[in-house]
Amino acid sequence: MKKYTLTRRDFLKQAAAFTAVTALTPPLLGEIPEALLAAQGEEEVAPGVPRNQCLILENPSGTVQPADDFNRWRSGYSAVWVSGLQQLALDALWYIDPDAGVDGVWDNALAAEPPIYNDDFTQMTVKLREGLYWSDGVEFSGDDLYYTVDLIKNTPGMGNQGLFESNVDHMEQPDRYTVVFYLKKPNSRFHAAFTVRWGALYIMPKHIWEQVDDPVAFTFNPPVSLGAYKLRDFDPNGKWYLWERREDWQRTSVARLGEVSVKYAMYIDPGPSDKRVLAQLAHQLDVIHDITPEGRITLARENPTSVGWFPSFPWAHPDPTLPAVIYNNEKPGLDKREVRWALTLAIDIAQVALASYRGAATISAIHVPPTGMYPQYYHEPLEPWLNDFTIKVGGEDYKPYDPTAAQRIADLARPSLGDLVPTDPAIIKQYIGAGWWKYDLQAAEQLMLDAGMRKVNGKWALPDGSPFRVPLMSMNPESNPTMNRAAAMIVENWTTFGIDTSLDSQANPWPIMSSGEYTANLAWTIETWGGHPDLFFFLQYWHSRLYVPSGAPSAGSNSMRWKNPELDRIIEGIETIAFDDPRGVELGLEFCKLAAQEMPITPLMAYNVFTTMDTTYFEGYPSIDDPYTDPVPNWGNTKYMFVKIKPKMA
């Protein structure tokens, strides 16, 4: 408990006994005089590329295999997408920022203005900017957009082929910079396919692709760029990609937002969490995508040049994503609302926050992530309702909401982290979130009994006495252990409650989720635009017409198999109004209330990404104080970082 209040000397002594991770690297690298650092900055990270001109970012997808295939449009996923390709070289019509944006949440990138729908949403007109050029000098025009959609629509094996095939009847090009899409059926969200939130449909250079026989097999090497950077070199083993600012970067869409000052950018695979921490301690990695909370704490203590989204605890950038305990609503027992609620009340959110993020979590009681603009859109308006909200427990009204949850987490984290944890309740609310559901085993027990569940030999069983097993699947990718840590804690909580459970840790739980081969699962099915309140982003999959029972892959994110007529009504309401219609938020609030009552999944917290940036060579990273975009470097949106980041020693 005193660990982090040790003197530095004591700390060194301890660490030296086994590892010098925190002991030797700081003295070796952390206390290097500035002058020496400056000299170091002249070092080359690649032939002709000085360190202080090259922003080094982590590619969270790791090593790229095969390294030389830049076809971003093919079905499937490749780590090459996020090795700078979609951030630096490709461009799309529109961007929605998960945070506030450089110039508002919505940005018209390649498009000159937002999409223009006709009244019944069967026609969408796109006006493009003029004067943008591909890196090989060819001018960008409506031909490229037309060609891209046309090619994909007609080429099975390309990503989104089905989308365009089922939506686009035909296109027209009234002039060089305008494309009109005639849709087969009304679609108020057709522009979403072209709008980057992480990624979207990027536009192909027609003059390159029209020479290709087999677009599915084409590797697009070297990639012709429409962004501010072009590919300079890359590792055939996929460990690093080096991008170079285009001479004519001013002829790209970001130029109007500011000067692109970073000459080079390199996306690398720095290895697992510990190695990333070391690399940043050595100032060899400017932008870490994610590390363990402990790694982040170490950087906070040992490397004064490291900064994060929040200036202090919990530092991390909360993704517009909502980790939750997802129940398979089809499984016996879990098909009962009371049981799902009982399981929710059997979770001690404070312990989960401590175990997963060491308290550095942003919790959410409702079914939208507490990130970006969402607290303003949803959390704050719903707070009074939550305080009064009741469910039936043993036939009586019971108020399950606990407004003190975030405060409890802060108090528990403080003994270990001391001053790093804020004390101001307002800051706590902003950083750690508001309330959550009570940890109340008695109420949970009553709920189980209400549902007809029985306790057999100290374990809960189904009404007929057969075992009620709830193994909790969790995701355990190499890069981030927090979800798995949270799941382990919930397993412990549930075991205490008498649930027959176990931890089923999976490196890649997504396909299992999709096919419904699980009982409970800690992952997410709710992702939002972040900056924009429209919930259609995830709700589009939740309508009962797309319902697929367990055993077959679910259509999109309704992997919990939730079906509700009220929900259908809300979704139908959303899809018939325009994207920016204020009624959208109202429907969203209705959704939140419905979800709280039904509890199809138990929302936990934001997916906090410990993106950590080193200010040794560069500055101007996004933060809560200047939230112009998210710093998470695999997002297509991070292209906006490059107009704000400036080298310190140019």
Partner: protein, 337 residues
């Protein structure tokens, strides 16, 4: 010669082919029992990565991928198609990295693994056998006793722990070796440049040391038990009484004979060493077959898993088979009789 072919070669070839067949079939079946399939893995990865996909788009992608990956049809049909392709030497495209052929990716990774594995195996083989023989020939030597106990213990310690201890000690505590990769970030592999090769060697020291340390003990113990019988053989006692120097006896009389079964064992343990290399590459971020395999397993890339296991099975089986055939070259007793 005819008899040799009929009585020796043919049964061995049959056995060799049977082993490969059974092995490949087993590895064909196991991943297909998993609850997920690669198409779903691909789509859900895209979704999890935050791509917004229209439900229709997902459906069409699912159909397209199933078709492209050759996963349509019943498992039995797929199995026969699989053998058909395999016999033409086609391992198919990687599902995770479609449409890159599996063989291309393995071809790229294999040299890294081999460049590490072969020297490491040879070094541990030589030193393990040498010290093993010495320890039974000089039973009183204290240093050898210590080496024996250490070798024994290290050999059973999981590769992971050995790797991590080395990594922590020599990359963090005494930072003399790089802690990741096969060459520095920002460098392009260029095998004609001496500088690059030196860099590569520097990066290979710790991974190789892991394999060597763990491998050493096995050879040591094996050799020790083999030689413990040989040191009391008449021909050793004889040359001892004839006054031959200990070194000469050790090398020409003890090791020369005892090493023979070790060659066979060498082929047999390749499979185990391969498993070690896999872990080692994960720990050290080394761009070889091991890294490839782990990624393939995590992404349910059947073809890649199959490709790697097929390479591994055939590799080990061929090694064992060749060792069987070549054994007479090493052992004149079998050669002329």
């Amino acid at each position: 010669m005819r008899k040799f072919i009929l009585k020796y070669l043919i049964p061995r070839i049959i056995q060799f082919l049977t082993i490969i067949f059974v092995g490949i079939t087993v590895t064909y079946i196991i991943p297909r029992l998993a609850p997920t399939d690669p198409v779903e893995a691909q789509i859900s990865t895209m979704m999890a990565m935050g791509s917004s996909l229209d439900p229709a788009s997902i459906e069409s992608m699912r159909a397209a991928l199933t078709d492209l990956y050759g996963l349509s049809g019943s498992p039995v049909e797929q199995y026969f198609t699989f053998w058909g392709r395999l016999l033409r030497g086609d391992l198919g495209p990687s599902l995770d990295n479609f449409p890159t052929p599996v063989s291309k990716m393995i071809g790229q990774a294999l040299p890294y693994t081999l460049r590490l594995l072969i020297p490491a195996v040879i070094i541990s083989f030589i030193f393990g056998n040498l010290f093993g023989a010495m320890s039974s020939y000089y039973p009183k030597n204290k240093a050898l006793k210590v080496i024996e106990v250490l070798g024994q213990v290290v050999r059973s310690i999981p590769y992971y722990i050995v790797a991590i201890v080395l990594l922590v000690t020599f990359s963090y505590f005494i930072p003399i070796f790089p802690f990741s990769g096969a060459y520095p970030i920002g460098t392009r592999p260029d095998w004609s440049s001496l500088e690059f090769i030196l860099k590569n060697l520097e990066h290979a020291v710790l991974p190789a040391a892991t394999l060597i340390l763990v491998g050493f003990g096995g050879w040591f113990v094996g050799m020790k038990s083999l030689t413990s019988n040989i040191i009391s053989e008449d021909y050793v006692v004889y040359v001892e009484t004839a006054g031959l120097s200990k070194n000469r006896i050790l090398i020409h009389y003890i090791i020369r004979t005892a090493i023979l079964p070790q060659f066979t064992a060498l082929a047999m343990v390749l499979g185990t060493v391969f498993s070690g290399a896999l872990i080692m590459e994960v720990v050290f971020g080394y761009p070889g077959i091991g890294s490839l395999a782990i990624r393939a397993i995590y992404s349910n890339d059947y073809s890649m898993i199959m490709g790697i296991t097929i390479y591994s099975i055939i590799g080990v089986a061929v090694a064992v088979f060749l060792m069987d055939l070549l054994y007479p070259l090493f052992d004149p007793r079998v050669r002329y009789q």
